[in-house]
Symmetry: C2
Subunit: 504 residues, 2 copies
């Protein structure tokens, strides 16, 4: 893997000086074209051996290219805010938009490599991280990103010489390299585990480029050229979607019976029961949210449902129980321009609550497999892969202590008609009904099938769906609150058991 | 995930009887069409809860369809032969050829699930297995397979009732279900870890189908219809290759210097040294192969090289050291009809030696990224993904104790010319030179670039490449033997250290 990056690649100054002007021009041109097209984001990952010229190269690239279109990010120590979120959150929030370029130092690979080198975990856990990286990159590439991964390499001998030279050079002596790099054991481990990482994540859609770092001319010109080719490929690749799916997925149940049919739509609460139970559950929610165990969790509630099923009313009853500083409500409509310039999960990742907090999504990432699927806003292969991507996403949240509670508020077709008609006649409700609602209603059966698929594919142990019988608004509101409370309580108790076991 | 397979799906007998004839006809027709086309293999994986009708359904499918085109495989207990090979070997050898259908009981999922349920390993190791399954399936799909995964489900209550009914039924009472299924703890674990497995491997290219198993009519008709759709999709999907690669991979080193340039092609041995060293290394190989530690390993040697580089001669010197029962030599030419009906790695998997044995490949799976790449025998995306697939393959071998030693025998262009000319004039060598050799020679530079890419991408810690300076045949032969011996010895010693550590 590293052999040909230890053979002493060299470019003489003259060649370098001759080639750089044309390269710079081409890089700039490609950069502007990429920016014009706004079709791909370019993500550059910088990894490798200490002293191999990572920093110098990135500095040079910023000089060669238009730095306004480049975002250089370092991810060394995590901020408080980052520590309060799932690990991938810090990367998602820094993703470059389409048309731009992000250079990531200290990215996901550095994290896992450091952890393994310092013995914080073993290979099986490293492999989990490797697999996670592969999935993330696959998703980003499917969403139009171009990922260029660079490993700046030095042989052990080269590294030692270079660290010494840097130390002796007054211009560089302030750059004290991390102590442990002085030890050859660290080098061996970095190369050993780095090789495992590179081997397993060098995939056709995002291969690694291993660059020998000794000679700055060679190094810089190599990286510049690879980058140029990557930019040009991003510009010139026709936007043909891969078409390799041969399995027709998600057949409807042949007896025509779905989970939605199993709901007892007559369930209801009378006014007194409702008021009593509502107050009880609201008080319970208030208490649970202030429980000190909440500090190790965050809460996400997803509200999806038929039009006019009462999502808004349910959300208000949840909010009413809480201090406004504890929660935020995120209404999801068609994506904004900024959001369209990112992978579809991006706008949800940025709204994921920090520990102790609660985010309510009024519609959500499930739009991908509902409205986008049915209206044809995304290609079939895009929504087909979304089930898996969403499960991965929610599993990451779960692993970080985020409790994800998902509601489908179901009403029957007649109830919807009544409510639509009522909305049209009651003045203060008229803004709530549009032509689009009527059009969606015509696609009732399609939506129904999509909902069943969605629940079948994404109701997981880490994040199950709750189907809510919502013909009766009172019943629905209480069931929503109770489900939230039960989920919180279950998570707290699970954690208690875990703590107890580990104390023993 | 399992919710909608616990709601009591039922089909009445009349509907069933009405639908089956047309379904059978359509299944048969699709099956023959698939067989005619010989473009896809269909792999059906059968998993799920004990008593959910797995066996009955497969039996029924064999009745409905032409059983001559279906291979039903069970993978419960491993044979001695299977135990002596890497774990995936047993699946590879049973893959159905294109145009045929394989039904796999007790497949890779059953293995990992059982291991996890019985506490043989933890989640991190389960996740490694899950990831391995995903990679295998991705490879198979890329090679034209259609994978249909069925999970036959029962709720816990349904399962208990069904096991009881089976026991009381004299027709079925001989079918004693595994004892541990009687315990509800087992059920809970199977569902819990099964969910993790299904969640993570339900991907667009091979999603899971979860089928409620209570009602035989519902179950059979559902599976039949999904299978029919799968077969039809396999038949009708246009053979368009996915085109999603935007990154131009594998740039040549900009200083034009490659590993091959670093070889000292003047290295040679005089006759006396050669004979002495040859005998020494041959004796060493003979001893190492008879070492009792060899019983825990197998040895694979891959010989690639320029035409006329002396692969045959080197192989003969290796073989000369050994008892013919210990090794086999596999010459790789263009694939046979049977081999073309399988994924490209299949014909190599079947030749992987059992523990204690040694297989010498005269040319190998690297044809994919050498001749197939250069002659355009496979599409760019196919050879691009091959680097990763090959690394996965060799890692599986390594993990099972197979030592993989890979040689590239390099000669320079002049030496090749001399040898070609000599072959044309020496009568007993004339069969060794063909028009094709001359044509290949014209593509010298292309092959050279492909070799460098290959070494850069697949020389891994678990299976490094050895470049052999082969202008002097004596030097080459001794280096080959010595490298093999060093690899064997290193593997033995690593294992010794491992054993010692674990004894402490």
């Amino acid at each position: 893997m590293f052999e040909s990056a230890e053979i002493g690649h060299v470019i003489d100054k003259e060649t370098y000086d001759n080639e750089v002007p044309a390269l710079r021009e081409a890089l700039l041109e490609a950069q502007y074209e990429l920016h014009q097209q706004k079709r791909s984001a370019v993500i550059v990952l910088i990894n490798g051996i200490e002293g191999a010229g990572k920093g110098e190269t990135v500095k040079l690239l910023s000089e060669w290219m238009d730095p306004r279109l480049i975002e250089v990010r370092t991810f060394d120590t995590q901020t408080d805010e980052e520590l309060a979120h799932p690990p991938a959150w810090r990367y998602w929030r820094q993703l470059p938009a389409k048309g731009r370029m992000g250079v990531f130092f200290g990215n996901w690979y550095s994290q896992m490599l450091q952890g393994r080198v310092h013995g914080q975990f073993k290979n099986a856990v490293l492999d989990q991280a490797i697999n996670g990286a592969e999935r993330l990159e696959k998703l980003l590439c499917n969403e139009g990103a171009v990922i260029l991964k660079f490993w700046f390499h030095l042989s052990k001998k080269q590294m030692k010489a270079r660290l010494k030279a840097l130390k002796d050079d007054p211009l560089h002596s302030w750059r004290i390299s991390p102590l442990d790099w002085q030890q050859s054991e660290t080098y061996d481990k970095v190369v050993h585990f780095g090789e495992r990482m590179i081997r397993r994540t060098s995939r056709d859609f995002a291969p690694w480029n291993i660059v020998e770092g000794v000679d700055p001319y060679y190094r810089s010109l190599t990286v510049g050229k690879i980058l140029l080719e990557g930019l040009q490929a991003a510009i010139n690749t026709p936007k043909v979607k891969p078409h390799s799916i041969t399995v027709p997925p998600l057949p409807d149940p042949i007896d025509g019976k779905s989970l939605l049919d199993c709901l007892d739509m007559t369930l209801r609460l009378d006014k007194d029961d409702y008021e009593e139970q509502l107050i009880t559950e609201q008080a319970r929610l208030s208490g649970l949210m202030r429980d000190k165990r909440m500090r190790r969790h965050a809460l996400v509630a997803v509200f999806e449902g038929n039009d006019a099923a009462g999502k808004g009313g349910s959300i208000r009853r949840v909010a009413a129980a809480l201090d406004p500083r504890q929660y935020s409500i995120v209404p999801i409509a068609a994506p904004s321009e900024d959001e369209r310039a990112q992978p579809y999960l991006w706008r949800f990742w940025r709204q994921i609550p920090a520990r102790g907090k609660f985010t309510i999504f009024d519609r959500s990432w499930y739009g991908r497999v509902l409205v986008e699927r049915i209206e044809g806003f995304c290609a079939q292969q895009d929504w087909l892969r979304a089930y898996g991507e969403i499960n991965d996403f929610e599993e990451q949240l779960h692993n970080a202590g985020v409790i994800v509670v998902k509601f489908w508020l179901a009403i029957d077709k007649d109830t919807q008609l009544e409510r639509f008609q009522a909305r049209e006649t009651i003045p203060f409700k008229r803004f709530k009904i549009t032509e689009e609602d009527w059009r969606n209603r015509e696609k009732w059966d399609e939506y129904r099938a999509a909902v069943c698929d969605m629940v079948d594919r994404t109701s997981t142990e880490v994040s199950p769906w709750t189907l809510v019988e919502a013909n009766d608004k009172r019943w629905a509101r209480v069931k929503v609150l109770r489900t939230l409370n039960d989920a919180l309580q279950a998570a707290f108790e699970k954690r208690d058991r875990h703590d107890k076991k580990h104390k023993k």
